[in-house]
Symmetry: none
Subunit: 319 residues, 2 copies
């Protein structure tokens, strides 16, 4: 670690202009760690530019300096250092930017275990979040973490650990969170802002989905059907339907969860599995695809027929 | 604090038989702190009995010694010390037990700010959880927290802080959680066990609550009503209803969330507030109590009448 810290220090100490970039569809850790790094370098009197392909999601717009993130690649190519944060692969920055063309030195700061080590300097650790890494960088540079940076880093750690629930939440993660709270991160306000900004239609459609859930006799397969009329009645948008199938999976004993969503003239079928069932294989049989534990298919016809067809495929594997 | 610690030490040092009791409808902090205290006293070679009116909710049955909690008041009245944990008022123990009749000395260990100081010794602090207080008691007695006690205390802190989200989650709370993880509490396993083992009735009643939610014109007050028939129809138990009011509060713009639960011949009213509204004051006016952001009252009568009465009190403060 010390070696990478030294290399980063050396590169930054000689740099007047720094570009920081993070991945497409940014999450709390991407935004939080990037802005914290921005604050760190600004307090070292560097000129810093931040880039991300998309606008900051509204739940993170309360973070200071979030408006200063550019969504277009910078024109100038004379940065001394470019830093990619939270990217396991350089492609995660999106096609719009060729980050190598902007700077002499590329630093890769990331926490994905399958990181491709694409930088000239690679500071990669298998820990909860990049924000946890940036917390330590403040110490390396001897800069006190101010309230704004603490808020960014706390947000990054909180979101990337699923609010301190995933199994890379270590005692050190909790101690860093404690220290950030002492430096001004408002624990409850950050949690409320990020997690408690649901819309009424999104909760109503979630409610309808849960209230109407069905299950196989064993309880291993659970599903729910949301038809067009119901979705329309509560005023839910397509984005309000994401996450419902994950809630279904949280049932004790459920191995496969299925959500049927009738939207326009098609029926979207979302699959989740908990342990051993490969729902990607099931989705493929139905003309869809995806990952082992999260997959989907788009089907057509009467929703009852679609449901029966899908369930009969699922029941071949687990009932 | 030191004075209360000394008094507790003195009382316990002279006690051969100890009764510990916690409140009706026990939550993670009630069960977790009671069992941790049991482990502490057992390791001090005391005879210890635990009492709670209800059975341990199934999500907490993974806690060691949870089966040793009695649901009937003990026959014997010769305890040296009785300890009520997590009870703001002696009535919270339920009508079945008259705890004063069982022991010479009554110790009240609690974290509700409106605690009535009903004990001979009152160790009351305005912090996250009783579990956080019991953590410190282990230090006072010089007993190392073993894995079982760490798991109980972590569970209590995690659940009473809404998984480290409520505003009495302090840096010290997070540091204690870190230390408990080092003593053997498995962060992700505890979170998974408590939060991802939902029963079908619990999701159905949550669904019904969300689907039927109502709000004031401004969206600042949101509420939902669960009547007896609905609760019965989905097969939900009382424990399945906890947490619903927190989900209600997660609506963007909602400042106060209210859940009306018709159970047996009473109507439980649960309040949550997000930022500035003191729902403890509202609950007090209705004969209840609790915390600034989480409170409750038990009321009687027709559910529509109760709803209107409660809403008219709430609307005096926020509409």
């Amino acid at each position: 670690m010390r070696k990478e810290f030294n290399t980063i220090c050396k590169a930054v100490n000689g740099a007047g202009r720094i570009l920081i970039a993070t991945h497409t569809d940014p999450d709390g850790d991407a935004i939080g760690s990037m802005i914290a790094l921005y604050i760190l370098f600004k307090s070292l009197k560097r000129k810093v530019t931040m880039y991300c392909r998309e606008k900051v999601p509204s739940i993170y717009s309360f973070l200071h300096h979030s408006k200063e993130i550019k969504n277009e690649p910078p024109k100038n190519t004379d940065f001394d250092v470019a830093i990619a944060v939270d990217c396991g692969d350089i492609k995660r920055l999106g096609r719009n930017i060729n980050i190598r063309s902007h700077a002499k030195t590329l630093i890769n700061i990331d926490h994905h275990p399958d990181n491709t080590k694409f930088g000239d300097v690679n500071y990669v650790r298998d820990i909860s979040s990049v924000s946890e890494m940036i917390y330590e960088l403040f110490g390396v540079f001897g800069i006190k973490i101010n309230k704004e940076a603490a808020t960014c880093l706390y947000t990054g750690i909180m979101t990337d650990t699923g609010n301190f629930r995933y199994d890379y939440t270590t005692p050190q993660t909790l101690r860093i969170a404690a220290s950030l709270a002492e430096n001004g991160a408002n624990i409850s306000r950050i949690a409320m802002t990020v997690y408690e900004a649901k819309t009424i239609p999104s909760l109503k459609i979630l409610g309808a989905a849960m209230y109407r859930l069905e299950s196989s006799d064993s309880g291993k397969v659970v599903w729910t059907v949301l038809n067009k009329d119901l979705i329309k009645a509560v005023g839910a948008k397509s984005e309000d339907l994401t996450g419902i199938v994950d809630q279904l999976r949280s049932i004790k004993g459920a191995e496969v969860a299925i959500l049927f969503r009738e939207e326009a003239d098609e029926i979207k079928v979302n699959f989740r599995s908990k342990f051993n069932i490969n729902v990607s294989a099931i989705a493929k049989k139905l003309g869809g695809g995806g990952h082992v534990k999260a997959s989907g298919a788009i089907m057509h016809g009467n929703i009852e027929d679609v449901k029966n067809k899908v369930l009969s495929e699922v029941f071949k594997v687990i009932k």
